[in-house]
């Protein structure tokens, strides 16, 4: 029996479109939090005195920080290019290429293109695979990195069901 297609005309039309552009100024506090969260003590990312003596002549930004820009979840600037029938997002992975170092104070412009959509059935039920391409440019317009990654959309409970907390008449009820 043929599987019901979850791919709408709207989704098909969105393929190939530039979905959105996000601008991020590289701020040292964000890098500090990133390094702490990832337990990355590499002095090249944060120790200016150390980094000055390397061929970079100063601290550079860890590559991993770039891939937090324009990721799904609650990231600022992220939205899906079509009406969502499946509410849950799962990261299926991706591939990134790095061309130039990024430094604190750089302004990185990331554009995200929606490049493909396909459907599969798996252990999590109906899955819609969304592929994106991201291009990262600095304030001089130089391409510093590129990425291609896949986000899977799956069925998920509504927000009010999962948070386990309802606010009624100013009271918090569990």
């Amino acid at each position: 029996m043929a599987e019901e297609s979850l791919i709408t005309e709207e989704m098909r039309k969105a393929v190939g479109s530039l979905v959105n552009i996000a601008v991020t100024e590289i701020e040292s506090g964000a890098i500090k939090r990133f390094c702490k969260a990832t337990e990355d003590a590499n002095p090249l990312w944060q120790d200016e005195e150390y980094a000055r003596k390397t061929s970079y002549g100063g601290t550079i930004v860890p590559s991993g920080y770039l891939i937090t820009m324009q990721m799904e979840g609650e990231s600022p600037g992220f939205y899906m290019p079509y009406q969502l029938s499946l509410k849950g997002a799962i990261d299926a992975g991706g591939e990134w290429e790095f061309f130039r170092p990024v430094r604190p104070g750089d302004v990185i412009v990331v554009d995200r293109k929606f490049v493909d959509i396909y459907q599969k059935k798996g252990s999590l039920g109906n899955m819609l695979f969304n592929e994106f391409e991201t291009t990262y440019r600095n304030q001089r317009g130089e391409i510093v990195a590129k990425g291609r990654w896949t986000s899977i959309r799956v069925e998920a409970p509504e927000v009010e069901d999962y948070e386990g907390v309802k606010i009624e008449r100013g009271e918090i009820k569990r």
């Binding site: 590559s63 609650e74 992975g93 591939e95």
Partner: protein
């Protein structure tokens, strides 16, 4: 070149990259959510994660990709350059378990004057399952 700096000449196919071990915790999940902006509750709310058909709260995939980058940058030193890295998320790592990132050299070659090394890399859970297999390409300095 510093004596500690890894060079292209040090590399042999089959060579192992020193593993990167991460003991995951709810606090780590919270810190990653704050640092990355991804607050999906599957990474910190066990009940919600179960409703989403996960066995428990699970480690964020981008965090694992970031650790794989860290595995490489720790190894290649200040004069090595991470050129490319990719991974697919094939399995889940439960918050509270240890995630170990590993890698092995699969190829070395010189191209357009650059000395490049390709590696098979992965994140592994305590059951030995490769939950995030991938590949990376790095540039290393040459002593020649």
């Amino acid at each position: 070149m510093s004596s500690k700096q890894l060079a292209y000449e040090d590399i042999e196919v089959g060579m192992e990259i020193p593993p990167l071990v991460k003991d995951t915790s709810p606090r780590m999940s919270a810190e990653w959510a704050g640092a990355s902006g991804d607050y999906d509750p599957i990474h910190y709310d066990r009940e919600y994660a179960k409703k989403r058909r996960f066995p428990d709260a699970v480690v964020n995939g981008r965090l694992k990709a970031t650790w794989l980058m860290q595995l490489m940058t720790n190894w290649i030193g200040d004069e090595g350059i991470l050129k490319k890295l990719g991974c697919r998320h094939r399995g889940v790592d439960i918050i509270g378990e240890t995630v170990t990132c590993k890698g092995v050299v699969s190829k070395k070659y010189a191209e357009n004057g650059e000395h490049l090394v390709e590696c098979e890399i992965w994140a592994e859970n305590p059951r030995g399952e490769k939950t995030a297999p991938g590949r990376a390409t790095v540039l290393l300095p040459s002593r020649d």
